[in-house]
């Protein structure tokens, strides 16, 4: 069961790498957030504590509901073309994704982890792959909004890593992380709007020519 969820997370990452529409990308990230919440619930086994359930539900609501809403709002306000505009096209991105999954898989087999098992190795592989895919999205896409998505995917990867290794981190820490991510997405949404109002686009590579 957990394995199926992990593979679905891998598929959402690949979908993100191959997507060419911003709306589809945002929805995919939302699905990934919900899958992560399910993963956290499954990791607790048959009888999860109330705190764990609450955290998973809050995470799902934030990543599956609030973030997509914020990002769609930013997209609407910025009133930009709905294409992704990659530096690296969808096909090379997909191939890079498969290659980085191979690397993540290989790495996860070699990493000495406390309490390691078959399931954990796959979870670590998926976490590393999410981090790599997020980095790739940040580097290889032009628009500021895809960089927010890349950041979210990276964060999801780190969260998955935590789910696998720590099982249950203190509620306070998790709440803090979620709040940080929320603020980050909120602020980035506003920044995208401002970049767009200032320069009439949100292509970050154009910002390289800024001089003081």
């Amino acid at each position: 069961m957990a394995e199926t969820v992990l593979i679905l997370i891998v598929l959402t990452n690949l979908r993100l790498l191959g997507a060419s529409r911003l709306g589809a990308s945002i929805r995919t990230v939302a699905v990934q957030g919900i899958l992560l919440g399910a993963l956290a619930l499954l990791a607790h086994g048959a009888a999860p504590t109330w705190g764990a359930v609450a955290m998973a539900v809050i995470g799902m609501a934030l990543k599956g509901g609030v973030f997509p809403w914020l990002l769609f709002r930013a997209l609407r306000q910025a009133d930009v073309q709905r294409e992704v505009e990659p530096f690296v096209g969808p096909i090379p991105s997909l191939l890079a994704g498969i290659a980085s999954f191979g690397i993540a898989f290989w790495l996860s087999r070699r990493l000495p982890l406390p309490g390691g098992g078959e399931g954990l190795s796959l979870l670590v592989a998926v976490a590393l792959f999410s981090i790599l895919a997020g980095l790739f999205l940040i580097v290889a896409r032009k628009k500021a909004i895809t960089q927010v998505l890349g950041f979210l995917v990276m964060e999801n990867g780190i969260y998955a890593f935590g789910v696998g290794l720590v099982r249950e981190s203190p509620v306070l820490v998790e709440l803090g992380v979620l709040l940080d991510v929320f603020v980050a997405v909120f602020v980035m949404g506003i920044i995208i709007f401002h970049i767009n109002r200032e320069f009439e686009h949100m292509d970050t590579d154009e910002l390289a020519t800024l001089k003081d």
Binding site: E3, T4, I7, V10, L11, L14, G18, P90, I91, L94, L95, G97, I98, F101, G102, F105, E118, S121, L122
Partner: protein, 301 residues
């Protein structure tokens, strides 16, 4: 006994798959559609006709349909249907399968280029581009299955599958199934990759290559295409309906039912989807390859 029944079924029932697909499409469009056995009537009609050869063509053009049909006939001897092994299984026959399908495509492309028509050359170049992307998906998917079952022979790979295997390693099998389904659609020139109905449209791929073939040659090509659909369908059915009752004939019947379910599914896909833009097709095929590669990596555990 059963292995040869396999071949016999492929030889006799392959054109019926086309009939089922057409029937499903007609039902979706609210028509009655052609008779179920229309493909057989077409074959009989074409075989009675004479062939017309352009003076610009050489023996390559005449050899194309024959070699193509021969290649796909050999594949029916190595692809199993139901739980029993195929008539000629040997370790590594999955590579032979890929190469035989490649040979069939190669001679079709050569025959198309031999006519000297620029239109057919265009179709040939597209066919080659897309199949170059579909082949990795097929091979990687089969490699994942080979790894899963620890055997390099198609018959043993598929014999090792049953519903228990789905329970144990469902994700890998599901990924391979998805990849093979895309390969089936792409290799058989079906929507969303190609539209088998368009005969004079600049975006078509497979149909354009066989425009100059007539009479018996065209019958061979049609029959070869039906057999190819049957063979790739058998690969898919072996995955999704691995019924193992212990009764060879029952397994075979289940697999046969599965074949026609696949035909209905192809018809549904064709009725409910539009063809993809040509630029999008490579993305779809590379996506299928990515799924197959993912399955292979997962099966390496």
């Amino acid at each position: 006994m059963i292995p040869f029944v396999n071949i016999l079924l492929a030889l006799t029932l392959a054109p019926l798959m086309l009939g089922v697909i057409n029937r499903v499409k007609a039902r979706f469009a609210g028509r009655d559609g052609q008779p179920l056995f229309q493909a057989y009537f077409d074959l009989a009609r074409l075989l009675r006709k004479g062939a017309v050869y352009s003076r610009a063509t050489s023996w390559v053009f005449r050899a194309g349909p024959i070699v193509g049909l021969a290649a796909v006939l050999v594949t029916t001897a190595i692809v199993p249907l139901g739980g029993e092994p195929a008539p000629l299984p040997f370790p590594g026959d999955l590579v032979l399968l890929a190469y035989l399908l490649g040979l069939m495509r190669f001679v079709t492309v050569l025959a198309a280029l031999d006519t000297g028509s620029s239109f057919e050359g265009m179709g040939a170049s597209r066919e080659v581009t897309f199949s170059a992307l579909a082949e990795p998906a097929l091979l990687l998917g089969l490699a994942a299955l080979a790894r899963q079952s620890g055997s390099l022979s198609l018959s043993k790979m598929y014999a090792a599958l049953d519903f228990g295997a789905w329970w144990q390693s469902g994700p890998v099998l599901a990924l391979v199934t998805a990849a093979l389904a895309v390969v089936l659609l792409a290799e058989n020139a079906r929507i969303p990759v190609d539209d088998p109905n368009t005969h004079l449209e600049l975006t078509m791929i497979h149909e354009v290559m066989v425009l100059d073939h007539s009479g018996p040659d065209f019958a061979l090509i049609l029959y070869g295409a039906a057999l190819k659909l049957w063979v790739l369908g058998a690969l898919l059915v072996g995955l999704i309906v691995p019924v193992r009752t212990g009764h060879a004939w029952l397994d075979l019947a289940a697999a046969l039912a599965g074949m026609f379910v696949v035909a209905v599914a192809v018809g549904v896909v064709e009725s409910s989807m539009a063809r993809l833009r040509l630029l999008r097709v490579p993305q779809l095929l590379v996506g299928a390859g990515a799924l197959a590669a993912l399955a292979l990596v997962l099966s390496l555990r």
